[in-house]
């Protein structure tokens, strides 16, 4: 008897000991590699971008030399017409793009949610452009918009709308809208899938109940589902917004920001100033990146607050 009690006590003691003693060796082994890697290749470059933004970094004698210039880079930005235009373009895009996408994604999600036939096929097809690289999307649409032989213009001419067959990517007013449209084509499926996911998470009983109370499809959708969908809506909107603020591949290949910077976005202008033009100075584009980082964070915070207060009302 005594032995058993003893043994019991001993077992308890070791267990308590095992619980209180953290396996620090294992924790380090598992977590440290990721954190160290992340610190070297992601965190350090972010901090360095802030540091660069206050400096002028130019090649001299085969290597990069750093001079401190303080706020000069930021002051120059305010006077840089191309930068201001690219900000303007990106903001137009970040407003129009998400609205287009949210309207399409929500409408399609509601239609497909009610188990329309072939819904799996639609989902697969609409999501597919998301997997295709920006280079492919950019090139194909560059050809579709081609003035002489592109699908769009040839089609328009065939139905007698010769006046509408514009040089879509070569004018001052249409290239930005071409970019917005093509990016929308590539990404609306993503928003759609997220909306469907949000809808499917809403318990079915609520809609059944609405049905029994005599609600129509539209009523059930707008009065029951839509309010419950607000958190998903917010997430998708923010993701869509961030997607436009960072988009590079499609713009770069489709228009390259041209003609004459009419479709320049911040992402493409940073690339040009950092690596494209012969005016090599890594400090100036870093300052742009810093400003843009701030704009993205503020934008996300604003959308968040705006929609939060709206849902609480």
């Amino acid at each position: 008897m005594a032995i058993r009690v003893d043994g019991h006590a001993k077992k308890n003691a070791t267990r308590a000991n095992a619980v209180s003693r953290k396996p620090w060796g294992a924790i380090t082994l598992f977590i440290a590699p990721v954190i160290i890697y992340y610190a070297i290749f992601t965190l350090y470059p972010i901090v360095a971008t802030f540091y660069y933004s206050l400096h002028s970094i130019v090649p001299e004698g085969g290597k990069l030399v750093t001079y401190f210039v303080g706020w000069q880079n930021f002051a120059r930005l305010l006077a840089d017409d191309i930068f201001l235009r690219s900000v303007n373009n990106t903001i137009i895009w970040a407003v129009v793009g998400p609205i287009l996408e949210m309207v399409t994604a929500t409408t399609l999600a509601f239609i497909v949610y009610f188990n329309v036939p072939l819904h799996r096929f639609y989902r697969t097809a609409w999501f597919a452009p998301m997997l295709v690289s920006g280079v492919i999307v950019g090139l194909v649409f560059k050809w579709i918009f081609n003035y002489d032989w592109g699908l769009l213009n040839v089609g328009l001419r065939a139905i007698g709308l010769d006046d509408l067959a514009l040089n879509w990517l070569g004018r001052r007013d249409t290239p930005l809208w071409a970019v917005i449209f093509v990016h929308y084509w590539a990404t609306f499926g993503y928003s759609f899938v997220l909306m469907i996911a949000g809808l499917s998470a809403i318990p079915g009983e609520l809609i059944e109940a609405a049905r029994i109370d005599g609600a129509s499809t539209v009523q059930a959708s707008t009065k029951v589902l839509l309010p419950l969908l607000m958190p998903t809506f917010l997430t998708v909107l923010i993701l869509s917004f961030m997607g436009k603020m960072r988009a590079f591949h499609i713009v770069w290949v489709l228009t390259g920001g041209g003609p004459m910077h009419f479709s320049e976005t911040v992402a493409t202008y940073v690339q040009k100033r950092a690596f494209g033009w012969s005016t090599l100075d890594l400090g100036y584009p870093s300052a742009m990146a810093v400003v843009w980082f701030g704009v993205v964070i503020i934008g996300v915070a604003l959308i968040n607050r705006w929609l939060k207060t709206r849902t609480e009302d």
Binding site: A26, F30, T42
Partner: protein, 294 residues
């Protein structure tokens, strides 16, 4: 919130909500819409087996003779020789995938299992996820100088190292979520049998997490294969180009050979597209998992 992407509500009969005529009209509209969405793919495919002359004359036409030789020319014509860009992209993608998997499974296990919880773990995890909302522009200029300093410009390593860094946050997040849902009993049983932490991870838990590993492989494969910004910045030597940069440059340099260019788009898209058609659920799950969290 767990995503239920893959199981649209089955409890409604659509007949309850829409009348038969409405269903037919809706289906026609949705099919037309879907056709508009996939036209660029179809056109690309048709273009790739025609001749450039035919395309310029009649972009809507179908090929008279199917020119499979476009693909042969694309790959092995000594002036074009696209196969080497496939090799480059393959090496970079595979290398970055291995590195990402190694780090993210270890990290996901450490972040996901209760046993390894400590005071700052949550904060570290949040810090890691912070990168998900950052535009690449905020870090790629110093990444460039860093790679240049180590003399890695124009090497496979430049892209392998940086791609792994971009894939790490979402991969670790996916692995951690999955590991945190595995039952503790397996882990304890192995521990009573005298297994150490690393052995439990490697021989017991990691095999159980195979579905999450598959998701991580798929989405990272796609991102690494499709990446352009870093690829064109870190690698400027023509022979070292990845497939994406090669396609872009090909159109710049051999601007008028549209049939061959279309063939390059189709071939470069195939690996991802085939995987997607076979495993579309896994793709969608992986790509949306990072979006709806908490």
């Amino acid at each position: 919130m767990r995503l239920a992407v893959l199981s649209p509500q089955k409890q409604f009969e659509f007949g309850l909500w829409w009348s038969r005529i409405q269903i037919v009209l809706l289906t026609i509209m949705l099919l037309i819409f879907t056709l508009l969405v996939i036209i660029p793919f179809v056109w690309m495919l048709v273009m790739s087996v025609r001749t450039t002359g035919e395309i310029l004359n009649d972009p809507y036409g179908l090929p008279n003779v199917i020119h499979w030789d476009n693909y042969w020319k694309l790959m092995f014509d000594p002036k074009i020789a696209f196969y080497k860009y496939f090799v480059n992209s393959g090496i970079v993608t595979a290398g970055a995938l291995i590195l990402t998997l190694l780090l993210s499974t270890l990290g996901g296990y450490g972040f996901g299992r209760r046993r390894y919880d400590f005071k700052l773990r949550g904060a570290l995890f949040a810090l890691l996820l912070f990168a998900l909302m950052l535009p690449p522009q905020i870090m790629y200029i110093p990444q460039f100088t860093m790679i240049a300093e180590y003399g890695l410009l124009n090497t496979y390593w430049s892209l392998i190292l940086l791609y792994a860094a971009t894939g790490l946050p979402i991969s670790t997040y996916l692995m951690a979520t999955y590991f945190s849902q595995l039952p503790i009993e397996m882990e304890e049983a192995a521990r009573i049998d005298g297994c150490g932490d690393l052995r439990i991870f490697w021989q017991v838990m990691l095999p159980l997490a195979r579905p999450a590993v598959a998701t991580v492989v798929l989405i990272n494969f796609m991102h690494f294969w499709n990446e352009l910004l870093l690829a064109m910045t870190m690698v400027t030597q023509p022979d070292m180009r990845t497939i994406q940069v090669a396609m872009m440059s090909f159109v710049g340099e051999h601007g008028s050979d549209y049939a061959i260019a279309a063939a390059s788009l189709v071939t470069s898209m195939l690996p991802v597209l085939i995987l997607y058609l076979v495993l579309s659920d896994k793709f969608i799950e992986g790509m949306t998992a990072g979006a709806v969290k908490g």
